[in-house]
C-alpha cells in the first residue's frame, strides 16, 4: 500500500511541475500588473519602481527560478492586492468550494444510483424512458445559463431564494442545483448502463437461486458490481466540478477557490492565481488516489499488492476504465 502511494506521488510530481510552469507563463501573458495597481497618471518612474519592487523586471526564467525557490520553501509569494500570503488566501477559499462540490457530488451520486437502478430494473420500460429523458436533459443544460435562469425565476421573479451570497441554507439551493444537474444526468446514464449489464450476469441468477429478495439482489449483488464504472465517472465529474465552480461561484458570489481564481486573473494577482491553481491540481491528484483506493475497496481483483508496474501513469486522466487500473491480478491454479 505504501509502495503504491509513493509511486502515485512520484508519478504526480511531473504533471504538477508542468501545471505550475504553464500557469506561471500564461498568467504573465495577461500584461503588467503595474497598469492596474497604479493610478492612471502614474509616472514612468513609478511604474518602473513598482515593476522592480515586485521582481517583474527580471527575465521570465529568473522570475520562474525565484518562484520555484520559494515553492520549495513552501513560500508561494504574496498577493499584489492585499499583501497577504497567497497560500493563506487559497487555503481560506478552498473549504467553501470543497463544501459546495462535496455536497453536490454526494447528492448527485445518491440520486443517480436511485434513479439509474430504478431505470435498469426494466430496460426500455416506462421508468427507464422517463429517467433517460430527464438525465439527458440534465446532462445537456449549460450551467451558466441555468444559473442565470435560476436567479431570474427563483430569486428575482418569485423571491424565494437569495440571488447570491453564503447566508443560510437557502443560499445553497441555487448553486448546488446548478452544479448538480450535469453530474446527475451523466451518472444516471452510467449507473443505468452498469446496472443493466450487471443484472444480466450469471451471479445474479445465482443470488436468486439462493432465495435472495429482489431488493437484496439489486443492492448487494448488482450495485456493488456496477459501482466501479460509476466511481470512475464520478471521479471525472468531481474534477469537472472545479471548472463548474469557477462559473457558478462567480455568478453566485460564492467565496470559493473558483471565484478567487477569476478575481486574481482579472487583477493580475499572479502569486494568488498560481497558489490557487496549484492547490486545485494537488486536490485533483489526491482525488485520483482516493478513486484508486476506492476501486481496491470495491473489488479484490484490483487490489494493489506492491509489485512494481511497468507503465507509469501520470495520474491526470481519471476516466481510465477499471481494467486498466488493474495493478496485479492474483490467481491460484
Amino acid at each position: 500500500m505504501l509502495t503504491f502511494l509513493r509511486r502515485r506521488i512520484l508519478s504526480s510530481a511531473l504533471p504538477l511541475l508542468v501545471v505550475i510552469l504553464g500557469v506561471f507563463a500564461l498568467a504573465r501573458l495577461t500584461g503588467n500588473p503595474a497598469s492596474l495597481y497604479l493610478p492612471l497618471n502614474a509616472t514612468e518612474q513609478m511604474r518602473a519602481d513598482f515593476t522592480e519592487k515586485n521582481g517583474l523586471d527580471n527575465p521570465i526564467w529568473v522570475q520562474m527560478a525565484e518562484y520555484f525557490g520559494g515553492v520549495l520553501r513552501l513560500d508561494f509569494g504574496e498577493s499584489l492586492r492585499t499583501g497577504e500570503s497567497a497560500a493563506a488566501m487559497a487555503l481560506r477559499a478552498f473549504p467553501a468550494t470543497l463544501q459546495l462540490a462535496g455536497t453536490t457530488m454526494l447528492l448527485a451520486v445518491v440520486l443517480a444510483v436511485i434513479v439509474g437502478s430504478w431505470a435498469a430494473l426494466k430496460p426500455n420500460g416506462i421508468a427507464d424512458r422517463i429517467s433517460s429523458f430527464i438525465s439527458m436533459a440534465a446532462a445537456s443544460v449549460p450551467d451558466f445559463w441555468l444559473a442565470i435562469m435560476g436567479i431570474w425565476v427563483f430569486a428575482i421573479t418569485l423571491g424565494w431564494l437569495p440571488t447570491s451570497g453564503v447566508g443560510g441554507l437557502d443560499a445553497w439551493v441555487l448553486p448546488i442545483l446548478t452544479l448538480l444537474l450535469r453530474p446527475f444526468g451523466v451518472l444516471v446514464q452510467i449507473v443505468r448502463g452498469a446496472m443493466v449489464s450487471s443484472l444480466s450476469e450469471p451471479y445474479i441468477k445465482l443470488a436468486r437461486s439462493k432465495g435472495a429478495s429482489e431488493f437484496r439482489v439489486v443492492t448487494r449483488h448488482a450495485l456493488r458490481n456496477a459501482a466501479a464504472p460509476a466511481l470512475t465517472v464520478a471521479g471525472d465529474l468531481a474534477v469537472g466540478l472545479v471548472n463548474g465552480a469557477v462559473v457558478v461561484e462567480s455568478i453566485f458570489g460564492w467565496p470559493g477557490i473558483g471565484k478567487l481564481m477569476i478575481d486574481s486573473i482579472l487583477q493580475r494577482d499572479f502569486a494568488v492565481l498560481q497558489a490557487a491553481v496549484l492547490l486545485t491540481a494537488i486536490s485533483i491528484f489526491i482525488l485520483n488516489i482516493l478513486i484508486d483506493l476506492g476501486y481496491a475497496g470495491l473489488d479484490a481483483r484490483v487490489r494493489p499488492t506492491g509489485k512494481p508496474r511497468k507503465a507509469s501513469k501520470t495520474g491526470k486522466a481519471t476516466a481510465a476504465p477499471a481494467k486498466e487500473r488493474k495493478l496485479h491480478v492474483q490467481t491460484t491454479p
Binding site: S209, K210, A212, N225, Q330
Partner: protein, 347 residues
Amino acid sequence: MSTHTQSVSTAREDLTENEVVLRVTGLDVDIRTPKGVLRAVNNVSFEARAGRTLALLGESGCGKSMTAKAVAGLLDPVADVTGGTVVLNGTDLAALSPKQRLKYAGPELGIVFQDALTALNPVYTVGTQLSEAFRIHQKLSAKAAKVKAIELMRHVGIPEPESRVDSFPHQFSGGMRQRILIAMAVALNPRLLIADEPTTALDVTVQAQIMKLLRDLRTESHLAVVLITHDLALVAEEADTVAVMYAGNVVETGPVREVFGSPKHPYTRGLLDSVPADVGRGADLNSIAGSPPELHRIPEGCVYQSRCPLVQDVCRAIRPALEAEGAGRTVACHFALTTANKELDHV
C-alpha cells in the same frame, strides 16, 4: 468424500428413496421476442425421484436449460411459464408468486449452474456467498453463518476451508469454483438439485471428480437430481432415467439402460448412432442429417419430421403424444414400435 459433519447435508428424514419429489406436467414456456411469441418448451412432463438422477438430454437449443430455469423459477424476464404444473413435494411452484417462491429457493430446491467461472460474484469472498443462504433463510448471524460456510466447504472437499473461506472466487480453480457452487446449492439440504451442465466448462479429470461429488451428495441425502446435459456418455454413467428433448418437446423417456439399449424414437436412435464407436480411421462419422427447426418455424405435426427417415403423411399432420410404451417408458412417435426393430438409413 471427506469429513462428514452433522449439521450439513444429512439425509432428510421426510424423504424415502425413490419417492417422487418433483413432478412436472405439461410445462409450457413462451419467449417474447420482437418476432412474436415463441414456444421454447412445449407440454413437457417428467418426474424426479429421491436418491435418483433424471437426465434431461438434448442438443443445445432444445429447451432443456429453459425447462430447468422454469422449474427453478429463474427464467429471464422475456420468458414466461404459460402452462402446466411444477409440483415439488406437494406444492405447485408454477402457481406461486415470485415472492412466495423465494422461500423454496434453497431449502427445497438447489441449482448448480453451467459456468462456474462466471457464476460466482467477483466482489464477495466465497465465504460471504456461501453464508448468504444461511443468512437469508435461517437468519443466522454473520459469524454463525461463516462457521456453516466452512463446514460446507469441507464437505464438498475444499482443502483448508478455514483459510480459503476469506478468498475471492478468482483465487480458486474452475473445479474448486464448481465445488463451491455445488456447496451453495446443497447448503440448506434441499430435496431437489438441478445440475445444468455442471461439468461443461471443466477439464475431463475434474469432470469426473465433480460428478463423483454430486453422486455422493445424492446418495447420502436422498437428493433427487435433475441433470441437464447433451453428453450421452455422462447420461449413461450417471443417470437412472432419461428424458430426451427435441425442439422444446420431450420425445422419449424411460430408464437409461433401456432407452439407450433399444431406443424407440427415431431421434434417440439417431443420437445414439452418432456416437463414434466402431468407426474405422478415415471413415465418415454418423450424424443426423439436417438441423433442428428454428423456434419460429416449428412445423404442425411431429417436431422431428424434417429429419426423420421414417416420416409419413400422418407425421406431417398430427403431432404424436407422449404415450406409454412398455414398462416405465414413454415415446412420442407414430411408429415407435417400428423404430425399435428397423435398421435406419442415415443419409
